[in-house]
Symmetry: C3
Subunit: 346 residues, 3 copies
Amino acid sequence: MKSAAPASYTLGELAERIEARLVGDPDLRVSGLATLTDAAPGDLAFLANRAYLKYLADTRASAVLVHPAHGETCPCPRLELDNPYLGYAKLSRLFDPLTNRDPQGVHPSAVVSPDAVIGARVEIGAHCVIEAGVEIADDCVIGAGSFIGADTTLGQGSRLHANVTLYHGVSVGQRAILHSGCVIGGDGFGFAHDGAHWEKIAQLGGVCLGDDVEVGSCSSIDRGALGDTLIGNGVKIDSQVQIAHNVQIGDHSALAGCVGIAGSTKVGRHCLLGGGVGLSGHLTLADGVQVTGMSLVTNSILEPGVYSSGTGSMSNSQWRKNAVRFKQLDEIAKRLTRLERGRRDA
Amino acid sequence: MKSAAPASYTLGELAERIEARLVGDPDLRVSGLATLTDAAPGDLAFLANRAYLKYLADTRASAVLVHPAHGETCPCPRLELDNPYLGYAKLSRLFDPLTNRDPQGVHPSAVVSPDAVIGARVEIGAHCVIEAGVEIADDCVIGAGSFIGADTTLGQGSRLHANVTLYHGVSVGQRAILHSGCVIGGDGFGFAHDGAHWEKIAQLGGVCLGDDVEVGSCSSIDRGALGDTLIGNGVKIDSQVQIAHNVQIGDHSALAGCVGIAGSTKVGRHCLLGGGVGLSGHLTLADGVQVTGMSLVTNSILEPGVYSSGTGSMSNSQWRKNAVRFKQLDEIAKRLTRLERGRRDA
Amino acid sequence: MKSAAPASYTLGELAERIEARLVGDPDLRVSGLATLTDAAPGDLAFLANRAYLKYLADTRASAVLVHPAHGETCPCPRLELDNPYLGYAKLSRLFDPLTNRDPQGVHPSAVVSPDAVIGARVEIGAHCVIEAGVEIADDCVIGAGSFIGADTTLGQGSRLHANVTLYHGVSVGQRAILHSGCVIGGDGFGFAHDGAHWEKIAQLGGVCLGDDVEVGSCSSIDRGALGDTLIGNGVKIDSQVQIAHNVQIGDHSALAGCVGIAGSTKVGRHCLLGGGVGLSGHLTLADGVQVTGMSLVTNSILEPGVYSSGTGSMSNSQWRKNAVRFKQLDEIAKRLTRLERGRRDA
């Protein structure tokens, strides 16, 4: 970023941070991260995928994160470790301009209730609105234009980017990262039908996010009807995701973009939901369940494993012929059975 | 909510409000709603689903909403009515902290055009922007950070939560509820191709919402190209929904999360669109059409009933084998026909 | 719009602007655009689809855009041109109230960094926040409540509607149109697993939008992990779209509502993605690829053409029977093969 001096670190500092074995000058400085092919002098690169091994010998990076097996091929200083990708992840935040900013205090244009409790080194951006009873722990950053409703609490070190909305009665754990446009605590979709029209059911529960939760841009997590909607520790939620009222997501599960989960469904720990996946309501998914992209799950899944729905894609002309036959599938199966019986009787 | 005294009501008041038969002390007070299993003294619970009957005898609630058939099983004071779920819905808003607030007036940081017409007891939150020609009827609440564009009108008793965006030329009926992050009146997706590039078609229509419409978090309703996009009375729209230009939604229809409706499609009255449903453009759906979750509808549906698409989900290994066969379906059907003909000729 | 005098133009001006042949009084004025059936005196209508030819003779419009072949049928003055739809598109912006406003300058409530560089005739709305290092070129309009992060740049004539969020390090070309609720530059969904939990990968790249890009309401375009997410010239993106980190979209491609594209996928030029389409990550789509609504593409497509997935919709009762058979498809195919072999051997 032009508006801030770039962070730079010595190879010695970096190696120590990720417990890598350094082969090279510990005082050599790097000030950026890059891919093997894009790296320039001053950059640190990494080799995490054998498919890119061919680029290692010609890299212009000042240093590379590699598995010891590839150390000899490396033309420059290197940090050897068993999992270079994880090492890259751990070092990446050091180069994030937002990480390295000093907290800027409370902007004068922010409207903060006198009944809100604001911790130490908290930054509240311009035009934020913080309502009564809110508790913001130490080291939080609230991005410009964000709204935090009454009695909502944020745990230490949490960050809201600009234009985030937390309704009242939301509990956020420590080190949360909430991206712009996300909305936590809007009403769940609750209505009772009286024969002629829908009667709204006020959503009296809240939302509870554990520690280390990340929520992507424009995602929404609805408040519970009575109890809370619960998001476990370390859960990672991508952009454009919808989580309905009274859903529970187990620790360390990851939800890719555009996932939608209907009300009261419980997702286990360490689950992976691919982009666009839909889960019907009132289901249970066991720990370790993976659902592939754009699949619809309408029954509980009680065994870990990978699950899918859909037809696969093809040319439209081929697809039309096959889709026509899908409508006839039951009939096709019956005709097949009749043929088999006819054959047996022959 | 800690920041406000909880609302409490006598059983007599509540019974009268929903025309239930009270068995118990009319002066007994309750101050919360809860499920049968979570209820504590001071709570009102309800039994609406036979599956939960087993929890009734041990509930710690101070009172329960029940169907008369279960009255005798109830260990505590009860309100008897034919539809306990509807009774719960009608009482729920009494316990919603947002319902019970006094209007807070116009926040000094709100930017309100002198040409806007603001009714009685209207609350406009911090950092709102209200443009010229806007008309806001009595008893509306505009949440912090919301934007209302020129000439847009809001009917009596409507509520915008924080960070809602209404473009210019939008008409909202009475008692609307618009959740955070929703956008009403953005441009429809209109372009003409000139052989090399897309020429934008300015969207000159507006959006018109009837009375008692609710729009969920992060949903979007686009303005019409020429005429208006029309949402009927009592329509309930969940989160992450997309409604394209010149769509019409009939009264009392309900759209679950992540629904997408393409341009100029007309949805009848009392329709139910499940989560993630997609409707192509220029279709007509009759009254009383239900579409199950994540189905894609590409042809008009002229008869009420339930409609679906999709394959169902299964283990990924099983799915791969079947998806491969989907590509061969037309060929399978033809081979079957040849076999049948061969058999007939045998 | 009531709050502004309607724009009006002579037929002579309009004909010249789109190089149409005028048959009628060049000084006749029109002040609105309408469909053939809705038009009233003072409106300009158009006939672009043979299906509407039947409405031409009775239209009350003051003038109509028509193909020369239909000129004689036209009951009123007409502008003849080969592509009336394109002519309508080109004239439409003349009637857009937002086009015809004078720039309003910088609102006093906007918080603009002294280190931001603001061009001539730039309008910055109430409660905007513009961070350090931002460069806004001439003739841009920044809608109320928008946030522009550090070092982000906007090309000439770009417009942000209200409540738009641009993170730091985003580059926007000329004449961009960004609708409310959209978020450009949020973190891509990048994590490395350490065996027990997810380690966040800071997203150090940016987003780069070409010229004439439009992004719809509530859409999100994530910043790259290392390099940038790239959106080409003339790309049109509808509402509720999700574009993941390091995606590249070629010039003049169009993405309809609710499309989701996973990380590092490259979409060619002049592609059309229908509503709700999903593209898996690390794919390549050639130029001129069209994907029909709600299809999921999981393999690269290297030939232009139309591609689809899905089953088509039907009554739920019919669908249930067919979906059950989908699970048996591999077995059905094998049984068919056995029957054919049995038949051959007979």
